[in-house]
């Protein structure tokens, strides 16, 4: 296996872009990434890409050029972007190709995601009764976690406050105005204990990454950021996931635990070696739980972390440096690649007002989604 480098990055701003399809937002991101790499669409030897609800990614050739390249569509829920990256990474690591593109985009209607039972192999009554609502799962998982590990509502507020503070410095973020913690805590309750400002919203956006072999990266003078690991895992027995009519009394693992462990093993480093992290923050509590599930602290220690600002930009492990899903919104197909875009930017030292100090060398990203999948990547400068 040969090393693979991220040689170009591009993003179409997250949020709402009237008049542009999800695919066109993905194409915009691809053009920016190609320019960043100093390459043309004609140079792409292959592509992997996907969206959750904005159509087949391979139709992007209509926007970018009919070069005849092989293009694989990926549809893997919240891990769509991460899975596209894995495909592209393997294609180059195997020695088959020198350069290619991974992209993800989406465009969701306003309001909560509108999942249907049959898409998740569930009976119709489950949706009819009002259980087919993702926000319920996050709130229920969090409610129990807070009771078991002593996490306070104040900490949920602190996570959201940090997200909006960081996003004020991120051009691609959707919600870029700081929000004070009192406003967050006293905004409309959506699903107890989570208020409106503690949830991310479905959104639009696109991200593209150009990957290259070491030879190609050197040739282009873009051999700074390499992929140390990229993994996706499905759920183990006894896990607690979105859309579950029942769960086992004997509690077990979680897809995030599996993905994190595998990624660290592949990279040959541990959580203590990571300089910054993007962790799935579908809601404030998810970031808190994922800090521990990914090995960055013990369960319950997040209370101290947040009180002391240790996950802030200048903290000991900055988390969600561009405001994460809370401030960027969640276009499902693009969200995982946004994390990697942000990590690459940070490792290049181009984070501007949100740049992590001290020349970070390693960056971690993590997604989680229905029906129990998780993806983790580790980058190194």
């Amino acid at each position: 296996m040969q090393d693979v480098f991220i040689i170009g990055i591009g993003i179409h701003p997250f949020g709402r872009t009237e008049g542009l399809s999800g695919l066109q937002q993905g194409a915009n991101a691809a053009r920016i990434a190609l320019k960043d790499a100093g390459l043309e669409w004609q140079d792409m030897q292959f592509g992997f890409g996907g969206s959750d609800s904005a159509g087949n990614a391979d139709t992007i050739v209509n926007e970018l050029g009919l070069t005849g390249l092989p293009f694989i569509n990926v549809k893997n829920g919240c891990a769509t972007g991460g899975s596209a990256l894995i495909g592209a990474w393997q294609a180059i690591a195997s020695g088959q190709y020198d350069v290619g593109i991974a992209l993800g985009f989406d465009k969701h209607p306003r309001g909560a995601f509108n999942a249907m039972p049959a898409e998740y192999s569930l009976p119709d009554w489950y949706g009819e009764a009002g259980f087919m609502v993702t926000t319920q799962f996050f709130a229920i998982k969090l409610q129990r976690y807070m009771a078991l590990h002593g996490i306070s509502p104040q900490s949920l507020g602190r996570v959201a406050e940090k997200a909006f503070r960081n996003a004020a410095h991120a051009d691609h973020a959707w919600r870029r105005s700081p929000v004070d913690i009192d406003t967050i805590m006293h905004s409309q309750m959506v699903s107890d204990p989570l208020t409106k400002y503690m949830f991310c919203s479905p959104a639009e956006g696109g991200v593209a990454l150009i990957l290259g072999s070491e030879r190609k990266a050197r040739e282009l003078g873009r051999d700074r950021v390499r992929i140390k690991s990229a993994v996706v895992r499905t759920r183990p027995p006894g896990s607690f996931e979105v859309f579950a009519p029942c769960i086992d009394i004997e509690r077990g693992g979680a897809p995030t635990l599996l993905a994190s462990k595998a990624a660290f093993e592949m990279a040959g480093i541990g959580p203590e070696d990571i300089d910054l992290a993007q962790l799935q923050d579908t809601e404030s509590g998810a970031e808190i739980m994922h800090m521990a599930e990914n090995g960055f602290c013990d369960h319950g220690e997040q209370e101290e972390w947040l009180a002391n600002g240790w996950s802030g930009i200048d903290g000991k492990l900055p988390v969600n440096t561009d405001g994460g899903c809370l401030a960027c919104g969640e276009p499902i197909g693009a969200s995982g690649l946004r994390q990697i875009y942000e990590n690459t930017l940070q490792l290049r030292g181009l984070g501007g007002g949100r740049q992590v100090p001290g020349n970070p060398r390693t960056a971690y990203s993590h997604v989680y989604g229905a029906p129990g999948i998780s993806g983790v990547t580790i980058l190194e400068r």
């Binding site: 309001g111 249907m116 009002g130 259980f131 107890d192 579950a244 009519p245």
Partner: protein
């Protein structure tokens, strides 16, 4: 007009409201609802009492489809109830103040009118409610 269950095979009303789960014939694992493949799963009655595992309150009306509840929406509580020796089931939580919900509290099953279908029949749904002694 009469009452009709939201789906067949989920629960029985008589002689007492009871959820019907499935026991894996090979491993003994119990799940809810009982899967259709009866070569692998046998139907079993689930315990009628349990303890609250976790909860939340649905504060906005879920999207239709798939939701078929009344247009006139009132927030409802839901969560998971651990049924000892069986499984932890997801359920609506009824006849309880949201402020009184507490992990570990004792609950028992009940059946509640949930919505009205096109023919004017009352659709019945299972739910859990705080245990009433006596």
């Amino acid at each position: 007009m009469s009452a009709t269950a939201i789906a067949d095979g989920l629960f029985r009303a008589l002689p007492e409201p009871t959820l019907i789960g499935g026991r894996n014939r090979e491993t003994g694992r119990i799940v809810f609802p009982c899967p259709a493949d009866r070569d692998r799963w046998e139907a079993v009655d689930l315990p009628r009492r349990g303890t609250l595992w976790s909860w939340t309150v649905q504060r906005y009306r879920p999207k239709t489809p798939p939701y078929v509840g009344p247009e006139d929406f009132a927030p409802f509580a839901l969560g998971y109830v651990e049924l000892p020796g069986a499984t932890i089931v997801e359920s609506r939580l009824v006849d309880v103040n949201f402020d009184a919900l507490k992990i570990g509290m004792e609950m028992q099953i009940t059946l509640v009118p949930f919505a009205t279908d096109d023919q004017g029949n009352t659709i019945m749904l299972y739910a859990f409610t705080p245990l009433q002694e006596g």
